[in-house]
């Protein structure tokens, strides 16, 4: 799997988490019960935060495969 695939996968995961969190938030906003505040803060907030963190993680450059790197170094010697 190439770095582009890994990034796409992380973007998808991030997107799914963000969408889930936003849907929870939308439900809480139309659900006028005191528990909605807790659900929004704990579940919606956690999902959105996790999605944003996964997105930020997806921006990091992919780490090169260490096995391939060592083989290349051996070939050079």
């Amino acid at each position: 799997m190439g770095p582009g695939d890994a990034m796409s996968r992380r973007l998808r995961i991030s997107g799914v988490l963000v969408i889930s969190g936003l849907l929870v938030e939308a439900l809480c906003l139309v659900w006028s019960k005191p528990i909605a505040f807790v659900v929004l803060a704990c579940i919606g907030g956690a999902l959105i935060s996790a999605g944003v963190l996964v997105f930020l993680y997806s921006l990091l450059p992919a780490v090169p495969d260490s096995t391939n790197s060592s083989e290349t170094a051996d070939d050079e010697h």
């Binding site: 973007l11 969190g21 006028s32 005191p34 959105i48 935060s49 999605g51």
Partner: protein, 208 residues
């Protein structure tokens, strides 16, 4: 921001995020990267902050407090047609904002007071859902009512500073201001909600 505007923003953000989930390849271009930053970073955090702010504001409303049925008698006490009932007199004469009547008196006007009020609300939720609920008449304040909450509005007011009862004894006013003589439990303004002890009170219908 009105609730409906936030809901529309949230659903719009979710729809855009759905586009990225379906076609992550669009992030290969510069415009796609900017879109991804907006959709997966900026918009979700902005929506979350707007939603939390909206919920915090909503939690100040009397309708929010009275949405738990255990609080219904307290809401009803605001309509008692008797000026000696402190909460009713404040509510009916708009000495407190009618739509935030509970919060105005029961928040804490010290530093972090709003935060403490919200923590108190979380405790109410915990008791409501996970513990045995008390009867409305058995509900007590977490701590004695601090005069600071009354003085937030009344301090400096002529009726308070020059009131005959408050000045009958030179020690009374300093004691009230120093919270050593409670406004509500000293035999002065001690009829507040009095849930469970109403007897044959009449109720104001809000029109006349």
């Amino acid at each position: 921001m009105p609730t409906i505007a936030i809901v529309i923003l949230v659903l719009f953000s979710a729809a855009l995020a759905g586009v990225l989930v379906a076609r992550p390849a669009i992030t290969a271009s510069s415009a796609g990267k900017i879109l991804a930053f907006g959709v997966l970073f900026f918009l979700p955090l902005f929506s979350l902050m707007a939603g939390m702010e909206n919920e915090m504001e909503r939690s100040k409303s009397a309708a929010f407090c009275l949405s738990c049925h255990i609080m219904e008698p307290y809401g009803k006490s605001l309509h008692i047609d008797d000026a000696s009932y402190l909460a009713a007199a404040h509510y009916q004469n708009h000495r407190v904002p009618a739509d935030e009547a509970c919060y105005t008196c029961h928040t804490n006007y010290a530093m972090f007071g709003t935060f403490k009020a919200k923590l108190g609300g979380l405790r109410h939720l915990y008791v409501f859902y996970l513990k045995k609920m008390p009867q409305p008449e058995d509900i007590k304040l977490h701590e004695p009512f601090n005069n600071r909450e009354c003085l937030h509005c009344h301090l400096g007011a002529r009726s308070f500073e020059q009131g005959a009862t408050h000045n009958a004894d030179p020690a009374t006013l300093p004691a009230i201001k120093g919270n050593t003589l409670s406004c509500i439990s000293s035999g002065c303004h001690d009829v507040v909600h009095n849930v469970g002890r109403w007897g044959n009170v009449k109720f104001w219908d809000g029109r006349s």
